[in-house]
Amino acid sequence: MKKGTLRQILLITDGCSNQGEDPVAMAALAREHGMTVNVIGVLDENERTDSGLKEIENIALSGGGIHQLVYARQLSHTVQMVTRKAMTQTIQGFIHKELQSILGAEKEIEDLPPDKRGQVVEVVDELGETMDLEVLIMIDTSASMQHKLPTVEDALLDLSISLHSRIGQNEYALYAFPGKRKQVEQLMDWTPQMKDIHTIFPKLSSGGITPTGPALKEAIEAYQKKRSKRGLLEDGGYFEESGS
C-alpha cells in the first residue's frame, strides 16, 4: 500500500451557526473532496445546551468525521484524541474497502475470526503512525467563545506535541470565524510547526455572528489552493497517492 496524506478539518465551536450556507451541506462537500470534518463542541462548566448539539453531530456525520462535546477544562486531551481517532477511522474506512475487494462485498472486519483481525489492526496502526497529515483548524471566535480561547490555545499546542511525536509529517493551518473584516480569517498559513500561536490569539476579535457554513467552504478552498500550488494530482479519494 502506498503511503499518502490524510486531510482533516477540525472545527472547534460552541454553538449554532446563524449565517451563510448550511454547514452540514458544506461538510458533505468537504467529504466529497476527500477530507473529513471533525467537530469539537466546547461547553461551559454548567451549561446544558442541546441546541447546538444536533448541528455539531450532523456536521461530523455528513463530513465523515467524529464529534465530541467537552468542557473547556478537558479540551486539551480531547482535541488530540479526536484527531487521532478521526485518523484511525478514516484509515479504517479505506482498509474496509480494500477488505471488501478481497473478501467480497458485505464483509466487515467483524466477520473475520478474531485471530485474523490482528493483522488488519497492525496495518491501521502502521498507517496512522506513518501517513502524512494535514489539519486545517477552524476556530469559532464568536462572543460566547471568547473566554474559552486560552484553553483552545493550550489544546492546539497539546495537539502539536502529539502529532509531532508521530513518524509521519504534519502540516497545520489555522482559521478563525468570524474574522475582523471578513467572515473567515486566516490566522496561520500551512506550516509544519504550530508555534507562536499565542502571538496570534490575543488579536482575535469576537463578534455576534457565527458563519460556520462559510467557514467550512473556506476550508475546502484552502485545501484546493494548497493542492494546485503543489501541482499534485487530484484523485478525490481519502488518500492522496504519492509516488508513481
Partner: protein, 325 residues
C-alpha cells in the same frame, strides 16, 4: 461518540454465561472489576479457574490490546502484564461484543497497599516496577499509560503487577493512550514519542502522586521548577529527590539506570531514616499502631521502629536483588 447507555456489555449481571462465538468457550460472570473508555472488565469463572474478561464494543481497539497482550505473553522469564488466554466474540440480544480473556490479577491498588503497609514500600515496589519496565523496553515496547490505577500489588511476597495495555506502544511511535498528570507532554517536559524515558517520567509522577493523592494542575510556565518544588515540600519525596529530578528531566537512558540509583538510595536508608524529622516518623508510628490493633507499643519506641524498618528494608532489597542478578 457512541452513547454508553446503549452498551449492554457494560452491566452484565452476576451469573451470566458469556459464550464465545468462535472458540465456544464459556465463562460465568462473578462480578464487575471496573470499566473504562473502551470496555468493561469482569471477573469470571471458567474451566481455567478465575479469569478476567474485558468486553468491549469496538473490535479494533480490543484487537489492538490483544495484539500487545499476545506478544507480551510470549516473553519468557518475566511476567509482563496479565497473561493472555484467548479472544472471541459474544453475541447477545442481536449484538456482537468482542472480548478477550486474561489472567485475573487478585491484587490491591498500589496506593491502598502503601497506605496499609507503610510508605517504605513505595521505594521497593518502584524497584520492581523499574525492573519490569526495563524488560518491557528491551522487548521493544513502552507502557505509555502508566498510572496508579493501572498498578496492583499482588500476593506474598508483595509483587507489583500492571494492567491495561491500552497505551502500550511500539518503541519510537507516538504513545497511544496517556493520562495528563503522568504525561510529560502535558507538563511541557518532552514529546509523546514512545521511548524508555517516557515511562520513567510517568514512574516519577506515580511517586509524586503517592505524596499528593489529590494531584494538582500544571502551572502556566516553569513546570519543572514547580514539580521540583513539590518534591522538596514533601518529606516522603525528598528521600528520592535525586532520581525523581533526573527522571523528570529525561536524563535516564533506560530503566535499569534509574533502578540502580534508586537501589543505592534505598541502601542508604539509614541516613534517610535519621534525616527524617521526628514528627513525620511519629505520625508513621501512630498510623501503624492504629492498624496493628493496640499492641503494647511504647510511645518512645519510634526510634527502634524506624531502625527495624531500615533493617527489613535492607534485607528485602538484598533479597530482591538476589533474584534479579
Amino acid at each position: 461518540m457512541a452513547a454508553t447507555s446503549k452498551n449492554q456489555a457494560a452491566n452484565v449481571p452476576r451469573g451470566t454465561r458469556i459464550r464465545g462465538k468462535w472458540n465456544k468457550q464459556s465463562y460465568q460472570v462473578i462480578k464487575k472489576l471496573g470499566n473504562g473508555a473502551l470496555g468493561t472488565v469482569y471477573l469470571a469463572d471458567s474451566n481455567r479457574g478465575n479469569v478476567a474478561i474485558k468486553v468491549g464494543i469496538d473490535s479494533m481497539s480490543i484487537t489492538s490490546e490483544v495484539n500487545v497482550l499476545k506478544q507480551l505473553s510470549m516473553v519468557q522469564g518475566t511476567v509482563l502484564g496479565p497473561f493472555f488466554y484467548e479472544v472471541d466474540d459474544w453475541e447477545m440480544n442481536g449484538r456482537c461484543y468482542p472480548f478477550y480473556v486474561m489472567e485475573y490479577i487478585n491484587g490491591e491498588p498500589l496506593f491502598s497497599f502503601i497506605e496499609r503497609r507503610g510508605k517504605e514500600w513505595l521505594g521497593i515496589l518502584m524497584l520492581q516496577l523499574l525492573r519490569d519496565l526495563g524488560a518491557l523496553h528491551r522487548e521493544g515496547w513502552v507502557f505509555g499509560d502508566l498510572k496508579p490505577d493501572n498498578l496492583l500489588v499482588e500476593g506474598s511476597p508483595p509483587t507489583i503487577r500492571w494492567l491495561d495495555v491500552g497505551g502500550t506502544t511500539g518503541m519510537g511511535r507516538s504513545v497511544k493512550e496517556f493520562t495528563e498528570f503522568f504525561d510529560r507532554g502535558y507538563w511541557g517536559l518532552g514529546t509523546r514519542v514512545a521511548e524508555p524515558s517516557y515511562d520513567l517520567f510517568s514512574a516519577a509522577m506515580v511517586m509524586i502522586n503517592a505524596a499528593y493523592p489529590q494531584r494538582f494542575e500544571r502551572p502556566k510556565k516553569d513546570s519543572e521548577l514547580f514539580l521540583l518544588n513539590k518534591i522538596e515540600k514533601s518529606p516522603l519525596l525528598n528521600a528520592y529527590k535525586p532520581i525523581l529530578k533526573k527522571a523528570l528531566k529525561g536524563s535516564y537512558q533506560n530503566a535499569s539506570e534509574m533502578r540502580q540509583e534508586l537501589f543505592s538510595l534505598l541502601q542508604g536508608v539509614k541516613s534517610v531514616a535519621s534525616n527524617r524529622s521526628p514528627t513525620s516518623s511519629k505520625s508513621r508510628v501512630k498510623s501503624r499502631q492504629k492498624r496493628q490493633k493496640p499492641k503494647k507499643q511504647k510511645r518512645s519506641g519510634w526510634i527502634e521502629t524506624v531502625l527495624l524498618f531500615a533493617f527489613i528494608l535492607f534485607f528485602y532489597t538484598l533479597y530482591l536483588v538476589g533474584h534479579v542478578f
